[in-house]
């Protein structure tokens, strides 16, 4: 080809009536989009708007549309509910533990696995496997393991001469136990993320720092960690969103008990919405969950992730 490329780009010829553009008009474009758009609006945006609408009514969810408008009563009731305040505390505690214990642990493992050690491919795979299991299978398996009488956990403690523990059966230990199970299932996922991030860091930078006399810790602190920051930000984001919607594991292992001591927002929502058929009240819980996620997502992307590329989120964290 000689001379400058003067052919019009496709995007510039759109809407042109010329015959060779047949099948590229705006209508066609919209046709490609339409099926996805309809499904998305009806089943994703619609329900969110519906829950806002329902949340202003006292309604059992049956028979046509809700009639009994009660303003913000569901929200004030929610605000004053001990169960809901507990939900927020439990979610907050689990999140705090995840951020302060689970993620650093994942990072340590990732850094160790990033070195040339024997069997690292095997370990990487092994640590990732719990992530691909469903939370349901994980929950049932650990219910048996943590069973106080004959479960594996207490048998192991006994065999090494330690006192047995109450695990899921006591309000004081249930959240820690849940956290251990959550970590078992998810730390490998974060390790894989960090490993991918670590492998994206050019070795030359670390070598240069070493030549300048930096020790292992200094290289990690001043070279590796800053370069890994975008990955860490994503991993924190996924952890927070995961904590807000935590349901399966809790529902299966404890049902929120004993005495609501491990209940989360999602468990309360399903309990009221389905079992007690208080759809209005339950919708208020969805709305609050939605507002919390939205505020977090917007704030986080605005203030924390703004330097990272747009679209760099993988919310398939829990694959839901």
């Amino acid at each position: 080809m000689t001379g400058p490329d003067t052919r019009p780009a496709l995007t510039e010829t759109l809407g042109s009536p010329r015959r060779r553009d047949r099948g590229r008009g705006p209508l066609t474009a919209f046709g490609f989009l339409l099926p996805a758009l309809i499904l998305f609006v009806v089943l994703v945006l619609g329900p969110v708007l519906l829950s806002v609408y329902f949340s202003f009514y006292k309604w059992n969810g049956l028979g046509g549309l809700p009639q009994n408008f009660i303003g913000f009563d569901n929200f004030t009731r929610l605000w004053n509910s001990d169960i809901f305040q507990g939900d927020l505390r439990h979610g907050g505690l689990l999140l705090l533990l995840s951020l302060c214990v689970q993620l650093p642990f994942s990072l340590v493992i990732a850094v160790l696995l990033n070195q040339k050690i024997r069997g690292r491919a095997f370990y990487r795979l092994l640590f990732f496997i719990p992530y691909i299991l469903s939370e349901a299978v994980t929950g049932v398996l650990f219910t048996l393991i943590l069973e106080p009488e004959s479960g594996l956990a207490n048998q192991l403690l006994k065999s090494v001469g330690l006192p047995e523990w109450s695990w899921l059966s006591d309000p004081s230990s249930v959240l820690i136990s849940l956290f251990l199970v959550i970590s078992w299932k998810y730390f490998g996922f974060h390790t894989i993320l960090y490993l991918a991030g670590l492998q994206g860091i050019p070795k030359e930078l670390q070598e240069a720092a070493r030549i300048d006399g930096a020790g292992n810790w200094e290289v990690f602190r001043h070279v590796t960690l800053p370069l890994l920051a975008p990955t860490i930000r994503i991993s924190v984001f996924l952890s927070v969103i995961g904590s807000i919607q935590l349901f399966d594991l809790v529902y299966i292992m404890t049902g929120g008990g004993p005495a609501h001591s491990s209940e989360t927002m999602a468990v309360t929502m399903v309990d009221y919405g389905v079992r007690r058929t208080q759809v209005g009240y339950s919708s208020a819980i969805s709305v609050v969950m939605f507002l919390i996620s939205l505020a977090f997502a917007l704030g986080y992307q605005r203030f924390v992730m703004r330097r990272d590329l747009e679209g760099a989120t993988t919310t398939t964290g829990n694959l839901r």
Partner: protein, 273 residues
């Protein structure tokens, strides 16, 4: 001496490996024990090996039925999800029309809130239109919720295909649809594989939606089946472990086949920037 210096690394990793491995071993070995063995000898090899837990699971429960349901729902979800997303991603990546950015942002907003927040009105909605105890009641919402991330991944991939390819196709007389179907999709096979694997895993592991939609044990998927089975055989631990083990196997098999796509899909977004 280098080996000695590395010893702590190996110790830490070995402890983590034990932490991960023990529950699997307990489940797998426990499934071959009876309940007496399970409480006196939780981690040792079964003696004797008791296969009856498995035969009970296969004959008494709805295991096969639920395996089939899970498979069917995962496949239909993924096919629909990838088809609709590919069409939409093509429009976003290669065509121009009024409101393109608006619609794209609309989809990305879907990423911001978790599925859980909409599940209750969704349940009310599906009950109103009579989709309870119907696989479609799970499939359609799963597709809808998978759209944002799938569209984002595919759009990025479609955009990366050079314009020259499209121009060549146009000169050869391809319509937009022809280019999409005969040129773009075949070129995008790796990306399609990645999003398909993500879709299958998401569908396979979904619990909350099937929990609300299915009341008929014959319709239930495996995660729900496991939970129901535990409720039925509350004290028969060995049998529950057999069920748990059986329902892990398909996921693990799938993982051995699709490990590469799964990991690349999950880490793709997170390492940019």
């Amino acid at each position: 001496m280098k080996a000695l210096r590395r010893l702590p690394i190996h110790v830490v990793i070995l402890i983590a490996a034990l932490f991960v491995l023990l529950p699997f071993l307990y489940g797998l070995l426990g499934a071959f024990k009876d309940n007496a063995q399970l409480s006196t000898n939780p981690l040792g090899l079964p003696s004797p090996w008791v296969p009856s837990n498995f035969t009970d699971v296969f004959s008494a429960g709805n295991f096969w039925r639920q395996l089939l349901n899970s498979t069917y729902i995962a496949i239909v979800t993924t096919v629909l999800l990838v088809a609709l997303s590919a069409l939409a991603a093509f429009a976003f990546a290669r065509l121009s029309f009024r409101g393109r950015e608006f619609y794209y942002v609309l989809f990305t907003i879907g990423l911001m809130f978790p599925f859980t927040v909409a599940v209750l009105p969704l349940f009310v909605l599906l009950r109103t239109v009579g989709l309870l105890d119907n696989p479609l009641g799970v499939i359609l919402p799963q597709v809808a919720y998978g759209l944002p991330i799938t569209i984002i991944i595919l759009r990025a991939f479609f955009r990366a295909i050079p314009r020259e390819v499209e121009e060549a196709a146009t000169i050869d007389g391809c319509t937009a649809y022809g280019f999409f179907w005969r040129v773009l999709l075949p070129m995008a096979r790796p990306a399609l594989a990645t999003v398909s694997v993500l879709g299958v895993v998401a569908s396979w592991n979904n619990f909350l939606l099937p929990l609300l939609i299915f009341t008929d044990p014959n319709q239930m998927t495996l995660p729900l089946g496991v939970q129901q089975f535990q409720g039925l055989y509350a004290s028969d631990y060995a049998k529950i472990l057999a069920y748990v083990t059986c329902s892990m196997v398909p996921a693990l098999l799938f993982f051995t086949v699709a490990e590469r796509q799964l990991i690349s899909g999950l880490t793709a977004g997170a390492t940019k920037g």
